[in-house]
Structures are given as C-alpha cells and as structure tokens.
C-alpha cells in the first residue's frame, strides 16, 4: 500500500508536469486575485456609502449605477477576481479531500467550468443592465 501511494505520488508529479500552468503560477494568480479583490470590494462598499443605505438599494439607483462605466468596471473586476480566487480555493480544498488522478482531473475541469460559467453569466447581467 505504501509502495502504491509512492507510485501514485510520482504519477501525480508527472501529471503536474503536463498541466498548462505550474502550481506556483496558479498560486501567484490566487494570491494576486485575493489581494486585489480586497481593494476592489472596499472601493465598491465605499461607493455605496456616498448615499443612505436604503437609497443604495433602490431599483433606479442600482440601474443608474450600471450605466456608470467606472462602476461597471469595478463590478466586472469583482466578478472576475472573486470567481478566480474562490473557485481555485474550492479546487484546492477538494484536492485535499481525496487523492486520485480521476478525482483531481474531475475537480479541475468542474471548477474551471463553473468559474467560466459564473463569469459569463455575471458579465451578461452587467451588459444587459448597462444597456450596451
């Protein structure tokens, strides 16, 4: 069993060499998106605080925000940064749960697909609300 786990370990190393990005590159993206998201979300909250809280939730005010190109860029940044950071974090947690080639490939494909799907759906919403 120990020999098997060692072989599995070596297989995992070989498999990693075949991936598009090295794990260190993925983690760089993970840390950068995490730090950037803090600043962008802080900016987003501060922009909401310029008016009373109830008013910031009114339909007209929100639609008006979507017409503001700077606000749209901030929302899109939040969407992309949080999606990349969040889904990669989920991938990392799931990789630690089980160790097998099939599981790791499945987790990678599912998390990347979900990330792309969420970004696409969110971007569509922003574009529709903006009226482009």
């Amino acid at each position: 069993m120990d020999l098997m786990s060692c072989l599995e370990c070596n297989e995992s190393v070989k498999m990693a060499n075949r991936t598009i990005l090295k794990e260190s590159q993925i983690m760089k993206i993970h840390y950068i998106t995490g730090i950037a998201a803090i600043f962008v979300v802080a900016l987003h909250i501060m922009m909401r605080l310029v008016v009373p809280f109830e008013q910031s939730l009114e339909y007209d005010y929100i639609i008006a925000n979507y017409k503001n190109i700077i606000y749209v860029l901030i929302l899109e940044s939040i969407l992309v940064l949080i999606s990349v950071h969040g889904f990669n974090g989920t991938r990392i947690i799931l990789l630690e749960l089980r160790q097998s080639r099939a599981w790791e490939n499945m987790v990678t494909v599912v998390t990347i697909s979900a990330m792309i799907g969420l970004i696409a759906y969110g971007t569509r919403t922003i574009i529709l609300a903006n009226g482009l």
Binding site: M1, D2, L3, S5, C6, E8, C9, N10, S12, V13, M15, A16, N17, K22, E23, S24, M27, K28, Y31, I92, L95, E96, L97, Q99, E104
Partner: protein, 272 residues
C-alpha cells in the same frame, strides 16, 4: 539510613496507559494500564522499558540511542507527539501518562509505526548535494572541498539538525488529509539543500511545485512546535515559497572550490 532506603521512601508511581494494537490480528485496539515507579529523572521511555522488562514483555516499542539523536522513539504522549527518551515523567506534571502511536503513520504494532511513506517522501526530495562538477569525485585530479562562509552555513544549518523522527509529519494537519503531501520534514529538507551554496541543482523547486506539493501547507506551525531538535520546518517551507513566488531572489553564489594538497592535509590547512 542508607541511600536505598531514602530512594524507596521517595519512590512515586505513575499510571501508564499504553495503546495496544496488533495489525496482524483483528482483535482491535485497546489501552493497557500499568503502575510504574519513577524518579525525578525517569523518562517515558524508561517507564515503557520497565513495563516491558517486569510487567508485559509483549509491549512493542521502537528505540535506540536514548538521547534524542536517532529519532526512533517518537510517540504521542498525552496527545502531543514527542520523543519518549526526551520526555521526563516529572515534567509532564500529571498522574496518568497516555502513550499512543504517532498519528499519520500506519501502525505496525502497539507504539511502533511504519515510516516507509515518510522516508519515500524524504527520498523524493533528492536530499543530497548535486553538483555539475565531476572533479570532486575524480580522485586523479586531487581532493577538493568547498568554501562556505559562516553566513552561507547559517542559511541552512538548523535544517540539517533534522533527525527524521517524524514528529512534525505526525503533527501536520495537511498530512492528515492528503497523504501525497510530502510533509514538513521533506519540504524543510528541500530548503536545506536549496539554500546550500554547494548545491547546483536547477530542479529542486520543480520537485515541490506540484498539486500536492509545497502550496498545500496551511502554515498551522504545529511542525515547528513539536520538533525536539529546535528545527523550524514551517520557516523552511515559507522561505522556499517566497523564492517560488519571486518575493525572495535566489542570490546564491556557488561555493568556491578549494584544492587540498597532501601537504595541506598534513599541515591541516588549505589553499584557495
């Protein structure tokens, strides 16, 4: 009153709860309890050997040097991974001591665990100096050694004190869930050779740059807390990560080669 009488009068007893399990039998696990006399200087290993000698010879323990050099007698003592030979009963300040096998290791029998996976991870780190210069091993070209300044040595010295006792590996929460994670010992050894100016390997960082490699460390720090030799594996892992992220630059200057002549050997000196 002679010394023996004084010793008997001051003799105290400790309750030793020892984990028992035999992998070859399906009898399950249980704890056996022993009352063991101890003195101020008695270690947990001494107490276990007393049990083995006078109470139950079937208790399985692995030990060798009895002086925290070999790293054989690692076990969980009152819930914390420790070396039994380095843990005095009097310092535990408890009336009952529970001895269990190290977590994250397969149990062979009682307190003896299987280190195969642990050593496989260690071997996978290529824990030896790698140099491109073959003259070092070419005896026809004389004998060489490598010059290292005290500052060069300081970068990796503490990590070379590792005795491979497996305490850090057993305390690591990531190893508990991910058996392909090399563990703090192996990763700290990777840093030890990476930081060594004699080593010229270009592939060291690639070895740990894996899905289950260095990035899975959660920095719990429990590895450094339990190390009996004062090594800080968590520090080694973070230093290695900083090089991989580009926060620290690898400004390692290869060690200068020093030719040692026979005359120099005799005079105990060397020529650069």
């Amino acid at each position: 009153m002679n010394n023996t009488a004084i010793d008997n009068k001051n003799e105290q007893k400790i309750t030793l709860k020892v984990y028992r399990e035999n992998r070859g039998q399906d009898s399950g696990s249980h704890h056996d309890t022993f009352e063991v006399p101890y003195k101020k200087w008695t270690t947990v290993l001494d107490a276990l050997l007393f049990v083995k000698s006078y109470m139950d010879p079937s208790v399985a323990i692995r030990y060798s040097c009895r002086m925290a050099s070999c790293g054989s007698c690692g076990m969980k003592i009152n819930g914390v991974p420790k070396l039994a030979c380095y843990t005095k009963i009097s310092e535990l300040e408890t009336s009952t001591i529970e001895c269990e096998p190290l977590p994250n290791f397969p149990i062979i029998r009682d307190l003896v665990t299987d280190f195969s996976r642990f050593f496989n991870h260690h071997k996978s780190m290529q824990p030896y100096i790698q140099t491109n210069d073959s003259t070092e091993v070419d005896t026809n070209k004389g004998t060489f050694s490598f010059y290292q300044s005290p500052e060069d040595v300081d970068k990796y010295l503490q990590f070379s004190y590792c005795i491979k006792c497996g305490l850090c590996y057993s305390a690591c929460p990531t190893v508990g869930t991910d058996l392909n994670f090399p563990g703090p010992q192996a990763l700290a050894q990777q840093y030890r050779y990476f930081a060594d100016t004699r080593d010229e390997s270009k592939k060291r960082l690639d070895i740990v740059d894996d899905r289950h490699g260095i990035w899975r460390c959660h920095f719990a720090g429990s590895c450094s807390k339990v190390c009996p030799k004062g090594v800080d594996p968590a520090l080694g892992i973070q230093l290695l990560r900083s090089y991989m992220l580009g926060i620290s630059k690898n400004d390692k200057i290869p060690a200068k080669k020093i030719e040692i002549n026979d005359d120099d050997n005799n005079n105990n000196s060397s020529k650069i």
